[in-house]
């Protein structure tokens, strides 16, 4: 027996201040959402509801070609149309506005509007600003563009051979391969050498994309008097990218204020929105009017820069005959599209949980990132890890098949055991805590495996095909910062940031009400509800005494924003710090008022009282009004200065640096959730239709703040996972045309395709590193659904002996598999 490989990573001590509460009053309660009343009554004030005086509207001319030089643009006819205020080409915009932010290094240069060359269908060629959107759209018809088509390579596996004019970014190299690096974590060769069996699969994960009901939009307002731009936008990470947008615009950060607007869903698609911010700001500056632009669905689908992963895997898993997993080795080609805004972050993300919940000793991944004439990838719920979950689970299923093991048993045998946490995986990332057996047991308790096997057998006798699936997957949460650059060449690592802070400002007014300012927006999650429950818990006040608002970049502090299932954990950290500060001052004031030592005081039910003396207490309101209006009641020293206010920042609880040689990537995504999904499906072998008969999802996201809102994340993520697994596919043809650019052709699951009920279970294994033991759960079901549906469909079609190696499993693909099995 070889010794377990452990990367050379030192685990920092925990900075947790608040452990799991024995009798929580608000944490763990399914409190109704604070956000709901205004959203459900149609009073939410989304970007489209904002109307500024004198506001003009923009429409964008989009390239019909996938790859072409722009030889000339004649805007004279468009400018002559009554109601048109300005017509701007990419080259004209570039006179004052520089490239947009990118994490790629060396950078892949992208402008908010194409300059001289278009690299994918839908890329913006020119913009019209007009009195209304109708006129703007009409004017687009009057812009005459002369394109010179350039050759394109469409097969991701052939981008290495692209040369000459087929190369998208010649300054970055002679082909369309952006990166080809092999990352080795542990003794992979030795582990493969001692394996009894190696299973190998070639797997294909096709492109899908988040489809929020509301698309992205911005309204920019240039003040010619001050030179300042104010941009209202439904972006997610405004405090993170505001200054970078200012840099693109060539102005100091003092001259750009980003005002957050609630978003009608994001799922990753509104992460930065730097392009739309820079574009509208630039247009407003040129037009001298407030300018509004909001994507229509076609804009969103062809050019929002948020397509999901597009990967081809050749992957091998080495095992002992008894099913013990030893090592994972793979080559992945990822078709990133025309640009590379987030660098190779989605593969950094993948490495955070690349061994799944299993004791895999070593990993080698060759990552080949290619550029192509497609829309570029962005973020979509999972950010790459949903794909590796699919790969790990498919290999595990293949191994079970090869070794004649039960799919549940092979997983159980390889689980990291509860006593092994915190557990360093070969890549250097840490799994903070977990109890995978317990999650599995709960899933098996809820899902009637034996009953479904019996139904499956009965159905088979009738010639019907029921299939059963069960997978166990990781859900890393609380993203840090290093994954954005750790896979870049070490000598060209780019902007090697190591922070991803989150701040809150908290103030108690003279009446004892608590005002909380967040530095991240609402994007369809429940930030106000989370903040309310955590503040109420920590400060012992009532939710009705708490008001939540959002800072803009002018007034805001550090904020990274939601994404990577981080916000609740980070918010809790900032709230704990803020409450600690305010509690200290409340105790100081109350101690003076009640003539007792601060150390004898405690918070109880919104009051500051003397421990063990129920009668001696002052309400927060009594102390607050004294602090605001009765200065002479207190000593004339600075610590009694009027008012109760603090701004608190919380840094990522557990991040360490990657090794200089990248033999490990350090700890960067350690707050590790886990899930077991089980399903029963029926496949109609004659039509290829898949019906979901039963679906159980058990999640362990540590301490749950609000089971109801977490259930929403799980259900929504599962719905999106069903779409990715069965229906959604951005299909480009050989000339780079996007053939599925409307919801008529890009099929999304509706109520009809969803299971009647997604039955949800919770297990709580608290994190020892976060406040209250909370873990993130925002990416929900999408992390496991494609994997479990692939297994279930393969099981259903076992009489045909088919192998499911690709998603989506459209009826056409399933029919092809059944036909090729020779049993139509």
């Amino acid at each position: 027996m070889n010794a377990k490989y452990t990367p050379d990573v030192t685990i920092p001590p925990s900075t947790q201040r608040e452990g799991v509460r024995s009798e929580p009053r608000w944490i763990g309660k399914s409190m109704k959402r604070v956000e709901d009343p205004r959203l459900l009554t149609g009073k939410g004030k989304y970007i489209d509801d904002i109307v500024l005086p004198n506001m003009a509207h923009a429409a964008l001319l989009r390239s019909p070609y996938a790859h072409a030089r722009i030889k000339s643009i004649d805007t004279s006819r468009a400018k002559a149309l009554p109601g048109v205020i300005a017509v701007v080409t990419g080259r004209e915009m570039a006179e004052k506005t520089g490239p947009t932010v990118t994490f790629s290094s060396p950078p892949v240069v992208q402008h908010a509007m194409a300059v001289d060359k278009v690299r994918h269908v839908g890329e913006t060629v020119a913009a019209v600003v007009a009195e209304d959107r109708y006129i703007a759209e009409d004017a687009l018809e009057l812009i005459d563009v002369e394109f010179e088509e350039l050759p394109i390579v469409t097969d991701p596996l052939l981008q290495a051979q692209a040369r000459g004019d087929a190369v998208l970014h010649p300054e970055r190299g002679e082909s369309n391969v952006a990166m080809d690096r092999t990352f080795t974590f542990g003794p992979v060769d030795d582990d493969f050498a001692r394996a009894d069996v190696v299973v190998r699969r070639k797997l294909r994960w096709n492109r899908s994309e988040a489809q929020p009901i509301e698309t992205s939009g911005a309204i920019a307002d240039y003040d010619e008097g001050t030179g300042k731009l104010t941009v209202h936008c439904n972006t997610s990470m405004y405090n993170y990218v505001g200054w970078l947008c200012a840099a693109s615009l060539g102005i100091p950060a003092t001259h750009l204020n980003l005002v957050p607007v609630i978003a009608g869903g994001s799922f990753g698609s509104k992460l930065f929105l730097h392009k739309i911010i820079v574009l509208t700001a630039s247009l407003s500056r040129i037009a001298g009017r407030p300018v509004k632009f909001i994507e229509d669905r076609l804009d969103h689908m062809t050019a929002a820069d948020v397509h999901g992963c597009d990967r081809v895997y050749d992957a091998e898993l080495a095992l002992k005959r008894d099913g013990t997993m030893l090592a994972l080795r793979y080559t992945v080609v990822d078709d990133y599209g025309a640009y590379l805004q987030y660098g190779y972050g989605t593969h950094g993300n993948t490495f955070a949980q690349i061994v799944g919940p299993y004791r895999i000793n070593s990993v080698q991944g060759r990552v080949i990132a290619v550029l192509s004439n497609k829309a570029q990838q962005g973020a979509y719920r999972g950010f790459g890890s949903e794909v590796s979950n699919f790969v790990i689970e498919r290999l595990t299923d293949a191994a079970a098949r090869e070794l004649g093991l039960d799919v549940v048993e092979i997983r159980r045998r390889n689980f990291i055991r509860p006593e092994e946490f915190p557990y360093l995986i070969p890549t250097g990332n840490l799994y903070d805590s977990g109890n995978y057996e317990k999650v599995l047991a709960e899933a098996l308790r809820m899902f009637d495996m034996e009953g479904w096997r019996a139904k499956q057998a009965a159905a088979r006798r009738q010639g019907r095909h029921i299939g059963i699936g069960l997978v166990t997957c990781q859900e890393r949460s609380t993203f840090s910062a290093t994954e954005f650059w750790s896979l870049n060449p070490p000598d060209q690592a780019g902007f090697t940031l190591t922070s991803s802070p989150e701040a809150v400002s908290m103030r108690i007014d003279p009446t004892g009400k608590v005002f909380v300012k967040l530095n991240s927006p609402f994007w369809g999650n429940s930030p106000e509800t989370m903040a309310t429950q955590i503040v109420a818990e920590a400060l012992t006040v009532e939710p009705s005494d708490i008001s939540i608002g959002y800072a803009d970049t002018d007034s805001g502090f550090n904020g990274t924003g939601p994404g990577g299932s981080r916000y609740t954990v980070m918010l809790a950290g900032a709230v704990v710090t803020a409450v600690k500060t305010l509690r200290g001052k409340l105790f100081k004031l109350a101690g003076h008022m009640m003539e007792c030592a601060e150390g004898d005081l405690e918070l109880r039910n919104g009051k500051i009282g003397v421990k063990g003396v129920p009668a001696m207490e002052k309400s927060v309101a009594e102390v607050a009004i004294a602090s605001h209006y009765f200065r002479l009641s207190f000593p004339n020293t600075p610590e009694f200065a009027s008012g109760l206010e603090t701004t608190a920042v919380y840094d990522h609880p557990l991040t360490t640096m990657p090794a200089a040689d990248r033999s490990h990537l350090g700890i960067y995504y350690p707050i590790m959730g886990h899930m077991a999904h089980a399903t029963a499906v029926e496949v109609d072998s004659a039509t290829g239709k898949v019906s979901i008969l039963d679906y159980v999802a058990v999640h362990d996201c540590g301490t749950v703040v609000n089971p109801m809102t977490l259930d929403g994340h799980v259900r929504g993520g599962t719905a999106q996972g069903i779409g990715t697994a069965l229906y959604e596919h951005y299909r480009y043809d050989e000339s780079g045309q996007l053939l599925t650019a409307s919801l008529a052709d890009y099929h999304m699951p509706t109520a009809h395709e969803m299971p009647a009920d997604i039955r949800i279970g919770h297990v709580e294994t608290p994190s020892p590193f976060t406040e209250f033991g909370i873990k993130g759960g925002g990416e929900g079901g999408r992390m496991a659904t494609p994997a479990v549906l692939a297994q279930a469909v393969e099981d259903a079609l076992s009489p045909f002996d088919v192998r499911i190696d690709e998603v989506p499993l459209t009826p056409i693909r399933l029919r092809e598999l059944v036909r090729s099995a020779g049993k139509t």
Binding site: P64, A66, V121, L298, T302, D733, Q737, L738
Partner: protein, 198 residues
């Protein structure tokens, strides 16, 4: 992609050839064609309105002829810009030959559409193109039958056909060109699209 098609027309090759040269007949048979202007010896500018599902656009196109072997075969390329709707491109090799009592029109073509036509219309192109092609041939055959039955309209048509014969016998390049335009429009925005995505 390669596209192939053939249509059997119940009229002699000569009748088909001549009818295809009749501007009035072409105008009746090809919906949406607004104008055809000669811009060179073997080059024409075409304007027409095309609608595919939700995408409706005015196309400005260019047709270039090559490899003319009157009256049997030729090649053509077509390129059309539909503004916001995108573009359509096509090239085709066409030939006519006798087929018993009738005539066989055959073509081999490649075509490509881009922009909104591809993004929004791709699923609808087949149906739209089928209709364009069916309409063309049913109208075309109806007119030929009408001329056989000797109605007034048919006689007018026959007269203009006679005029065509006179013109063609004088040996101008007008005849194959007119045929080419008719087939080009048909193929580039009709029958060719029918095969798109098949």
């Amino acid at each position: 992609m390669d596209l192939r098609g053939q249509h059997s027309i119940s009229a002699s090759q000569n009748q088909v050839w001549l009818a295809l040269n009749d501007p009035k007949i072409l105008k009746e048979c090809i919906t949406g064609c607004e104008s055809v202007d000669r811009t060179g010896d073997e080059e024409f500018a075409v304007r027409l309105v095309a609608a595919v599902g939700p995408v409706r656009a005015k196309f400005q196109g260019r047709i270039v002829l090559s490899d003319l072997v009157p009256p049997d075969s030729y090649k053509l390329t077509f390129e059309g810009q539909g503004g916001m709707a995108g573009f359509a491109k096509g090239s085709a090799a066409v030939d006519l030959q006798p087929d018993g009592q009738g005539t066989l029109l055959r073509y081999v073509a490649t075509s490509q559409v881009g922009g909104k036509l591809a993004q929004v219309g791709s699923r609808l192109i087949e149906g739209a193109a089928r209709k364009v092609a069916d309409d063309f041939f049913s109208t075309f055959e109806g007119i030929l039958k009408g001329s056989d039955s000797g109605t007034g309209e048919g006689r007018e048509s026959a007269l203009s056909t006679s005029a065509s014969v006179i013109k063609s016998s004088s040996g101008t390049a007008w005849t194959p060109s007119r045929v080419s335009i008719g087939v080009a429009v048909l193929i580039a925005l009709g029958a060719a699209l029918y095969w798109y995505l098949r």
